[in-house]
Each structure stands twice: as structure tokens, then as C-alpha cells.
Amino acid sequence: MAAKTINITLKIWRQKNCNSKGNMETYTLNDVSTASSFLEMLDQLNEQLINDKKEPVAFDHDCREGICGMCSLYINGRAHGPDNGVTTCQLHMRMFEDGATIYVEPWRSAAFPVVKDLVVDRSAFDRIQQAGGFVSVNTSGRTMDANAIPIPKEDADKAFEAAACIGCGACVATCKNGSAMLFVGAKVSQYALLPQGKVEATQRALNMVRQMDDEGFGNCTNTGACEIECPKGISLDNIARLNREFLKASLVSNK
């Protein structure tokens, strides 16, 4: 699988800020190594733009190894591009043919306003987390011993799979309803599956769902697109669990 180089055409969304109108711009880029990641390709484009004294393309990125959740991008109509189980930083140029035209857009969702070019504001996710995505335990050094509560491996593994969500927002961007149910479902599930999370389960489900609605995310109609595009393979089961937790909470809550 020796690396080769390809020439590509890019159609990239440019938008000065959240108040201005954006448009697609066309760029050609030559000698892109197929061993490069998609973001390294954008670095290469930006280097070319800077050398031509043009404004480089703004995009979010940080860890470049698929775990921080900062990179985004809608590539050829797919969140994180044409590969499965990867973030954009893990997408490699070997996925594209020589001479290809590649469309690059920001996440599109009412709850994720564009900051600039391909950068969007996902702080709504933080606010949902602040509404209930935690166990209320203070730092003390005097909690009980970590092995005091055995947790069945299966439950621990499922909780971990839900907790593997990186908060990138691909689920929202790819959902025709702009729903954040996969994100919220994953967090609610993680705690619902563990004994530590049970005490506050009712309040958590109600508060997180309320905040999710307040932020303007749409509802879930079970199309399943989110699961397909999730780079971490978060399962739709988590949405089902969220629905159960929310229903249970609504029934038992006296608020």
C-alpha cells in the first residue's frame, strides 16, 4: 500500500462569521499524498493559500487522533466523510481518487451556529452536560473503596461503550431533525447502567432532556442515521434507554 500523490478539486464553504452569508469556493490542490489525513490535506491547502496571500480556511481540530471530538466537517455529504468509524482527522486521502472533486461543509444544524468557515459552536452540548451529566460526588478522598461495589462486567462494558462518545456532534449534523438524542442517550445510559448513577437518575433524565429541548435540537424519529455516522459506533440502544429513563422519570417525578 505504498503512498502515491493525487490532484484534487475542493469546494469549500467559506463564511466570515455567524452574521454574514456564506458561499462555496473552489480550490485546486496538487500532489496530495494518499498517506495524508484529510486535515493534513487542509493544512497543505492553507499553506498554499497563505503563500498566495489569501485567507486560509478555518476548521476545528486538535488531537488529530480521533478522540478529542473537536474536528467535524461534512465531506461529500457525509459527517466525517466517506469512511466508517472514523473522525475527519482519521480519514485518509487514500479514500479519494486522483482528480476527485470533494465538497466540504460545516456541521449544519440550528443548534450549532457557524462561527467561521467550517467552525461551528457546539457549546449547547456543554450546557446539556451541565444540566445533569454527572454524579453529584464532591472531591474528598473519603469515598468508599473502588472495589466496594462490584459491577457486572457486562454492565461496566456497556457503560463504557456509551461513555466512549466524543461529543463531536456528527449525530446532530447528520440527523434530518437535528436531534441530539444519541449524544444525550449515551450520557444518560452510562450513568443508568452503573449503580453510582442510579440515585440521581430521575432528575438527570428530566434535566438533560429539558436542556436539550431548550437548545433547539429536534426530536428523534428513529431514522438511525446518527448510529451509522457516529465515529465511535454509539448504538441506537442508547436512545431507547434514554426514552425508557425519561418515561420512567416523568412517571415517578413529583415535580
Partner: protein, 670 residues
Amino acid sequence: MSILDSKIPAGNISDKWTDYKDHLKLVAPNNRPKIDIIVVGTGLAGASAAASLGEMGYNVKAFCFQDSPRRAHSIAAQGGINAAKNYQNDGDSVYRLFYDTIKGGDYRAREANVHRLAEVSSSIIDQCVAQGVPFAREYGGLLDNRSFGGTQVQRTFYAAGQTGQQLLLGAYSALSRQIGLGRVKMYNRHEMLELVKVDGKARGIIARNLVTGELERHSAHAVVLASGGYGNVYFLSTNAMGSNVTAAWKAHKQGALFANPCYVQIHPTCVPVHGTNQAKLTLMSESLRNSGRIWVPKKKEDAEAIRSGKLKPTELKEEERDYYLERKYPAFGNLVPRDVASRAAKEVCDEGRGIEANDTNEGVYLDFSTEIKNKGKQAAYAAGDHNPSEEKIITLGKKWLEEKYGNLFQMYQKITDENPYETPMKIYPAVHYTMGGVWVDYNLQSSIPGCFVTGEANFSDHGANRLGASALMQGLADGYFVLPYTISNYLADEIRTGKISTESSEFEVAENNVKSQIDKFLSNNGTKSVDYFHKKLGLIMWNKVGMGRNAQGLQEAINEIDQLKKDFYIDVYVPGSNDELNPQLEKALRVADLIDLGQLMAMDALQRKESCGGHFREEYQDAEGETLRDDENFSFVGAWEYKGDDIKQEQLHKEELKYEFIKIAARNYK
């Protein structure tokens, strides 16, 4: 007498922290809301500190440059976190964790700090489990452990290959709770660009809102820097693209001494470099060394054949392979500490036996075929099949690997387009962690009163080499269990101070300094991008201040960086304006500080005429190529004092390291 007072309390090593803590001053709950604290950075050290201080009732403002505190680079830590729980009954104890960490650091860390770290390690796991962190468990429902380099016990707790993610999300959840309760105010997409001192004390920061470009003044009674390490001085590293030294460096320029900058950890297991447009390197967790065997061909000709694609690694017979770590270090084998494993990889590649077909031929194999057979057989037996076929063994063995390291194997395959279940992984050392950092005393306070530094940003616990799974431990120890006590002791004298004004001349001057630096960059009519200079800096650092260092190379590096710095300010081109999101401007401000730091690292490496841990001076090695420490002359922390724009004028101060409880010895893993 040295100006460095480590403030290590007297007494027996195992009682120091408890006694000291019991006698620290407290701030009463009714007074805490009158006190403001700034925390810069929201990784493990910052998020845990901000959450804990918020819970205590202080007014906390937390800052991160990312779009959310959950993105901080602690999230990328893979392998695990150490704690002296002895759940596996293999003789572990606080003392052993303490001893292993001091030895792993090649006797260049402070005894008292390291012992405290080992003492609180157990509480960290308890705290995280209480928060709902889903650590890996055994079938009985209890926590699982694994081994890491430099130890002979299993004390590492983990969550698949995503331990850092799970721990950071735990700390982020605690932080989010405090933000929701209004006790912590969070500033996303903000970067600290200056530390403000009033009457000699740290009293605030100037931060740039990265979306609007606005410069903001924030005051506080104390400032906590938890801004991470400086590995990006090498351009290519396992750090995140945004990781930088700016917050720490601004404190340094304001008088905080910078300690042991030359101590850098080059991690042995990263995916090798693929080409010149590469932006970063990806780590493959050290935990893989539990299951993988590292080798290169015995013969140079075989290595050449492999590089040219004429020979496959799987075609090479057992006796034609050199499992060089197992050969050289039979006691620890593939689990020697990182610095030892990295140097050994460099050595075999320098001999021409590297297997990667890149510019430098640098790469070695990490092979899982033995483990596949062992674990597959075990799994078959466990399932009642005592005469399994070869095929079944291999299938079950691969399944075991997938469960243990699935995400890492997938990550590797995506990057390299090769299947590590079928053919050995290719790995090579890469810059990973920086042990040096802002000098702090036992209270984690820098030489500027009121400026505290935690996590990777300080220098205190890892000496000249950090053991695997110890960074997560230190970040959380500092933030959850050390800083809340020591900062309160400082703040007890601040309850009558009242709000700190941001209208003072000190804030005015600080803001103007930042503004003029930004204006200078934006109006500089240069021709080259920031990355152009950053890559040049990275090459100088990697070639001359990297895995092997010598006096001549270090002197050259110092001179070359001098020139690079001049060129940078003359010829850098920063597009765009200040009043918008401008990633190139952010980068320029960071690279300016990395250039200064790079020069100081070379100076520090030059003055340290010995080899220890990650600092390998080619002039100081024994007959077998192992590090040769000089305890008589270099058993000290080297802390540098800023003396103005010319870094070469910085002054070295020495804090002598005293070993009262551990007998200092040659570090031996054979």
C-alpha cells in the same frame, strides 16, 4: 544559598504530607466566596482543580482554548492510571509505587513530592469510580489491572485504550456540575496571553477571546496554570495541535523559574513518520507492550529486503529475528521504561536494521503473533476445548486482542492501511511528554507568589523520565488532592484583600504588551507561514536536542535557534485580522514562545553533563551504551531565571536533590 526553597516539610517520608496537611491554614466556608481563583487549562489537572475549588465554595474562572473543556489533550491518554491498591496481590504498596517512580525518573525527582503522589493514588481511583468512570472490570465485577513499563506489579487501572478519555470526562462532569451550579465560570475558546502581577503577586491574566479577538482582563487572588506540556516544540509530537507552552512561558517571563526543560520523554511506540506534510504523530499505547514483542531482523540485508517490499515480516523465521529488548533486558523485557526502549530502537535503526520505508528507514516491529497463540489457547481451554485446532486458537487469540486493544488496532489500521492482527505493527519513538516545566515548591506554588502550577505544566514528580500511567495519576492528584489544601493555605491570608481591580496600571501595561505583540504580527509584511518556522524549529530540536545529544550539536542548536528567531520576526506572514477567529495568529503567538523555550532546552541539555532518563548525552554512556549519571555533580533540579529577550542570558539556579529514604543506585532493568 539557593533562592529555591522547596518547602519540603520535615519528618518521616510517610508522615510528611499528613502532618503538613493537618497544620495548613484554612479558609472558612463563609470567606471562600470572597476569593477569586483563575484556572488556565481544563485537562485532568485543570478540570479537577477547578471542580474541587468550586465545590469548596471559591469563585472560580476556568479557561481553555478549545471549544469545550472536554477536548483538553488528557483525553488522548490511552493506557492507564497507576494506583497502589494491590488489588492483584502482587506485593504492591505505596512505598513500591514511590520507589518505582523515583527509580523510573532516574533519581532526579523530589522524594517528598513523589511519595505524596503515591499516597493519594488510591483515593484517585475511589474518586473516579464514585463519579461513574467505567474502568475495565473482571467477570467477578471487580476492577481489572495491567502492567506497565518499569514495574513488576500490575497496578494500572484502565478503560480499554481510552483511559485518559474516561478520566477526563469524569473530571469534566465534575466541572460541568460546578458550572451548572454557577460556582465555576467557564471561558471556552479563550487563550491566556499574559500573567498580571500586582505588588509581586499573581493577580490575574490577560486572555484573548479567540472568536472576537477581544482582549479581556481577569483578576483573581490566585492563578493556577494547568496548561500542559511543551512537546510541540518539536513540531511533530503526540501532542494535540493546539498544545503549547504560552501560559507557562508568560509566567516564566514574569519571574517564575523554569525547571529541567531538557527532560523530554520520547515514547517508544508511535506510528512512524510517513512524509513531509505530516502534522502530528500518533501514539500506540504502551499497554501494547504487555502483549507485543519488539523486534527487527538480525541481518541488515533482511531489513533492506523488507523496506523494498521484497520480503514480508511474517516470512522471517524466529531465529532470523532480533527481539532486542528481551535480549538486552531479560528481567523487564519488552516492559523496560520508555527512555530505555526508545534508545534501543534508535540504536538498531542506526545500525541499518530499521524496517520502515520512509526517508530515514526508522521503524521497528511490535509483533502480536505470540500473544495471539497464548491467549487463544487459554481461551479455548477456558471454554472446555483441551485440544483446539491451530485455526481455532488463532481466531480466539485475535478476539482476545480485539477486546483488549480493539480501538488501538483500528486506529493503527486507519492510519497505515495495514492490518495489525495479520502483520506486525510498525512503530518508532516520538516526542510524547515533557517532564520539565515551571518550577514549583511542595505547595505547587511557582516562584511567583499566588501563581500555582499543576500537572504536566510543572516539573515536580517525574524526574528525568516518567513511567507509563503516571501522568494521569499526577494530573488528578494535583487537582483533586494536593492543590485544594495548599492553595487554601495561601489564600487564608487573602480574606481581607477584597476584589482585585482590573483598572490598575499593571493590567493596563499587560494588556498593551499583548496588543502590541498582536499588532506587530499582523502588520509584519513577511513571506512565510508560521508553520514554515515551526517545522524548522522542530527539525533543529529533533536532530540536536532529541534522543541523542552532544555538546557540539547543542551549541549548534542554540546558534541556529538564534537565527531562526530573527528570521521569524522579520519574515513571518500572519494573514487575517485581530477581530475574528484567526488560527494563524493564535499559532504565531504560540510559536514565538516555543522558539524561546527551544533555545532554553538546548542550554539546559548543554549544562547537564551527564545522561539521565530521557536526557541522553552521547559523551556520557557506559561500555554497553547505557546512561551514565553523575550524582556527585548533577543531583539537582536546574531552574532557569528569565533575564530578558535574549534567552542565552538566562541564569541557572540549582535545587539540590536529597535522597533520605531511598538509596540512590544505578538504574538497572537487566
